[in-house]
Structures are given as C-alpha cells and as structure tokens.
Symmetry: C2
Amino acid sequence: ILSKRIVVLSGDGIGPEVCQEAVRALKAVADKFGHEFHFDYQLMGACAIDATGDPLPASTLDACRAADAVLLGAIGDPKYDNDPTAKVRPEQGLLRLRKSLGLYANIRPVTAYEQLLEHSPLKKDRIQGTDMLIFRELTGGVYFGEKGRNEDGSAYDNCTYSRFEIERIAHRAFRAAETRRGKLTLVDKANVLETSRLWREVVQEISLQYPKVLVDYLFVDNAAMQVILNPKQFDVILTENMFGDIISDEASVIAGSLGLLPSASIGDEAALFEPIHGSYPQAKGKGIANPIATILSAAMMLEHFGLPEEAASVRKAVDNALEQGVLTPELNAKAPYTTEQVGSFVAYGI
Amino acid sequence: ILSKRIVVLSGDGIGPEVCQEAVRALKAVADKFGHEFHFDYQLMGACAIDATGDPLPASTLDACRAADAVLLGAIGDPKYDNDPTAKVRPEQGLLRLRKSLGLYANIRPVTAYEQLLEHSPLKKDRIQGTDMLIFRELTGGVYFGEKGRNEDGSAYDNCTYSRFEIERIAHRAFRAAETRRGKLTLVDKANVLETSRLWREVVQEISLQYPKVLVDYLFVDNAAMQVILNPKQFDVILTENMFGDIISDEASVIAGSLGLLPSASIGDEAALFEPIHGSYPQAKGKGIANPIATILSAAMMLEHFGLPEEAASVRKAVDNALEQGVLTPELNAKAPYTTEQVGSFVAYGI
Ligand SMILES: CC(C)[C@H](C(=O)O)[C@@H](O)C(=O)O
Ligand SMILES: CC(C)[C@H](C(=O)O)[C@@H](O)C(=O)O
C-alpha cells in the first residue's frame, strides 16, 4: 500500500467547505484502491492571522515541508483588502508558502465542459473543444522583487528574472506540450520589457531541444484578446508570474464557472493543489460553494503521486455529476445541490 | 473660423489607409462647419526607421509639439517582433512620443454597438448596453522604469509611480465619472504591489473631492474576469500603464471588432488620437481595413477641440454606416465594402 501525508490548509471563507469535499474524495480513493492518506490540518491565511498573528505560522510551514503534498482551500478576507496600510495580510502567507516550498510552476488546465457550454459568457462555437494548459511562473518576477516607498513619497516594485528561473518552468511546459498537441505559446511583452526579452531568448534557445513542439509568441495585450476571441488556438501557454495571474483568471471565464477549475503549484521538492477561486466570503457556510474545483485539484494531486488510474476515477465521478446535473446553484439554479451533496455524490461515484 | 494644425502619423501596415479615411472625415467636417484644418504628414514607427534609422525623428517630434493635435494610424512591423536583440524598434518611437508630449492619460471608450452584437464572441445578454470608459496611465510605471541586464545574466524592469502621476490622471477619471454614471473602478494589485497600494491611497484621498462618485476597487486578476462576465457593471475604469494595456485590449473584444474602437491620449499640453488596433500588416493595401476606429478617434479629437456638434455629426455618420451595413469584411462578410468606400460613405454623411 501507498502511504502519503497530505497537509490540508482549509484557509478562509468557503475554503473549509470545499476542502472537506476534496478530502472526502481522497478518502474514497484510499478506500477503493487500498492506499493510506494521512490528513494534517494546519492554519494559513486570515484564520492564521486571527489565531497567531502570522498568516503562515512556522508550524504550518514545517508541516508543509514534511508533507508529500498540500491541499489548499482559499485564503483572503475583505477586512484586509481595502486597507492599503495593513501590515499583515493573508496573501503574504500564500506568497511566502510558494516561495519557501519553491513552487515555481503553477499549472492550470482550462477546458470547456460540453455539459456546461450554455453557462459560459462566450458563444458556444467559440469555446467548444477548448483545452489549454497554462504554466504560470510562481516564485519570481514583480511579486517577489524589491518593493517599497522612496523619500519623495513614490512607490516602486521591481521585477527580475534569471535565466534559471525561466529555464526550469520552460522545460516543464515544453514537456507537457510534447504529450499534448505539441504547441507552446509564450505570452510576454517583449516589445517593452527587458525581462520579457530574456524570456523570449531563453524559450527560443530551449525550443531547440524540443523539435516536435511548435512555439509561438504573443504580446500579453494581444493574448488577453485571443483567449476570448479564439481560445481553441491554445495548447500550452507559458508566461511569467503577473501576466499568468491575469491571463489564467481571464481564461477561467470560458468554463462558465470559477468553481470548476483546479490548479497545481509544483516545485522540485514540494507540490500544492488548490482551486483557482478565492475565499468567496459572502458564500461562507451557506452550502452553495462548488467543491468541484477542489476535488479536481485533488485529482491533480493523485496524478502527481503517480496514480493516474485513481485520478481518472475522480474525474469520471466528476463528469458524472456534471452529466446528471448534481451541481451547486451557479450551475443548476432550478434544482441545486449543496456543497456536501455534490461532494458526497462524487465520492460515492469513485 | 477655427483653424487647427493636425499632425498625421500614418505609420505602418494599414495605418496610412485608415488615416486617409479619418482625414477625409475631418475635411468633411471642416467644409460643413467652416473650419480650417491643416494636415502635416510625418514619419513614425517602422517607416521612420526605414527612412531615417530613427522610429521618432526629431522633425516628427518638433511637428507634434507645434501641432494642436496628432492623428496616429498604427505602428509596428513583424520583422522587429521576434528579434529580441533588435536595438531599434518601432514601439520605441511611440513610447518616446507619449513621454515627450506628456500624454499621461490614455482614454478608451468601449461600447457594445446594438447593430453588431452578433459579432461579439460574448453572448448578447452579457454585453448589451455596455458603456465603459477606460483611463490608462500612459507615461509611467514599468514601461518607463529603469530596465536592463545584470552581470549574472538576469534581466530587470522597475516600476515606479509618484503621487503626482497618479493624481493628475485620477482627477481626469473622476471628472469623467461625474459626467457619466458616477462610478469609478480602480484596477490594481494592492494585495501584492506597493505601487498599487499607493494608487489605492491616492485614489481614496482624491475621492473625497468627488462625493458624487462611487469608488470601488478590483484586483486586476478579478477585473480580467469581470470585464467578460459582467461588463455592464463598469462605468469609468482607472488603472496603471501595464494593467491598462491588458485590460483595455481585453475589453475591446466586447465590441465584436477591434476596428471600431478609438482612443485619445491626453496631456496638459498635447493630445494624440489613434485607433486601438495595430498595424495589421497582413491586411496592408488590401482595402479590407476598417477605418471606423480611426474616424471615431478623429471624433474624439473634435471633442478635444471643443467642437461637440462636429463630433456628433461624425458619430451620426458612423452610426448610419453601421445601420446600413456599409462595413468592411470582418463585419459584413456577405457584401463587404472597402476601406475607402466606408470612409467615403461616412464623409458623405457628415
Ligand atoms: C491571492 C493572490 C496573492 C494570488 C496571486 O496573485 O498570485 C491569487 O490571485 C492567485 O492567483 O493565486
Ligand atoms: C505598441 C505598444 C508599445 C503599445 C503599448 O503597449 O502601450 C500598444 O500595445 C498600445 O496599447 O498602444
């Protein structure tokens, strides 16, 4: 039997509710396939600030380091958002966690689910068949550059990228493209930014090692249009941290609900899995949060563990929920199911 | 009679064709209303590099400084795009022009034209009635910060904003919101960036002077979703240079064609008007480029000159072209008109 330690960072808002359903799915997988998953619940985000004053307590970080994988719900609380002077914020916990664990590759699949095309704000013929995989660099760039205030009251944020930071994620993106449709699109702003020119140089160099992958380059402003105008043109998208934040959230609208989209954040020694949606505090405790994104994040975790069959069984159970309309209100307004009902249906189907 | 000097920077690709039609419209306005417009054609962009080695020759800049307004077509040539080592690029001309003329406020209206709703990639009910005005800061931020390479081969781009840079465009955006639906949305990434926190502080302060304007704040990743999910929620959007580049191009998909969207770039002493589309080199000389975005940019120029009636007559003529389907192929595939036919129809209707 396979044994894995999973740290669960339920976080804030709807985080705990959706994590509970992903854990339910993982337990169903353990039962069915005879594995052992140990769940260790730790604090991060606003809940950790409330409890300890620190959005990422040392005990949480230690537990994550020792774990085989981390499952994250969502973090964030509106009480911190409109206070630009707040010194401690939930997001700092997440950013420090990414950096400390070296989670440099954020990977987000975006697919248009056949059963849910009508829920998309985009017309059906534009999105049907969309299947892209976005690689966002997650531990570099302007997020982690020097930042502060100057004496004259101005503010600054510095963006830096080294060749190494670009190379390691680029190799992952190229390898993914090889197993998919063989296309990689680098999104940058090489007509303006020096860091983008370095990205383009490094990617051009690396592309020689992947002769089967067709590479193209898009400026980020153009990419922001193309993702909506013609999402089917994309296979693998590779981009830096800030652009990836924007473009991947933009692309998420294709699916018709944020509640469907999982992500993996991978490093050479650690891996974290989380839905792309936020903590959605207005929905907290109402049973209306869609657990599917978190459940599919757990499926990505299983793939990361080298358990493709187990992952496939989770995906099949999710497909079945989509098929049968066992869905939370945003996708099934007429006869909605609760978070727990959706989670139980999926777990039962595993 | 009113007399104005207008510098025309036709630029590259389809730039000359679309400028010609905007000039035709301006001449029709001059005739009808008894004004005098002098047109002075100057080089900028790839055409200027080809002719002089410099994307913004001194003579061009001098002419722009002396003019009452600048009309720009588009710049850019693919031969520069995939060569990250090219030292001279067309875009440098545009960036230097913006900086030299102090064009700090880029203003882009995005409307869903009733006649063209079917051309949008978005579903009709999502976009019908959309009417937003985007204020993008244009002479600061990462575009104009220090950039370069370090000895270890890494690259950097620095982003800086001063209070003054934020204040002057914020006041313009608030004043615009007062004359519209009274809502202003600041798009930033204040949960990560120090410059964004400064933007939020300054906008919060300034908002006290505009008690009739309702202010809200959106993180740029969320904004990238909201622009597609629910564009009608926006009235005035205010944002920094890089985010404005991305979000305004993204929002342009709502209209169903890039060829419809004008922009103004305004400073305290100069003003430039240009379509938001690029130089579209594949279409050059084919008569298929839509001149409406450039013609509507000329209408914004007329408003800037304090000629609202004249601007309205241009807009009415454009509406008529939309109504009658006198449109280039991307909007009228069955019975398309050429660039010149559309331009002549509009000019005739003025
Ligand atoms: C919460 C925030 C710091 C974070 C980011 O910008 O990376 C989030 O938007 C995300 O994409 O995971
Ligand atoms: C050509 C490029 C430098 C420019 C920019 O990024 O500002 C363009 O995309 C624009 O939006 O006008």
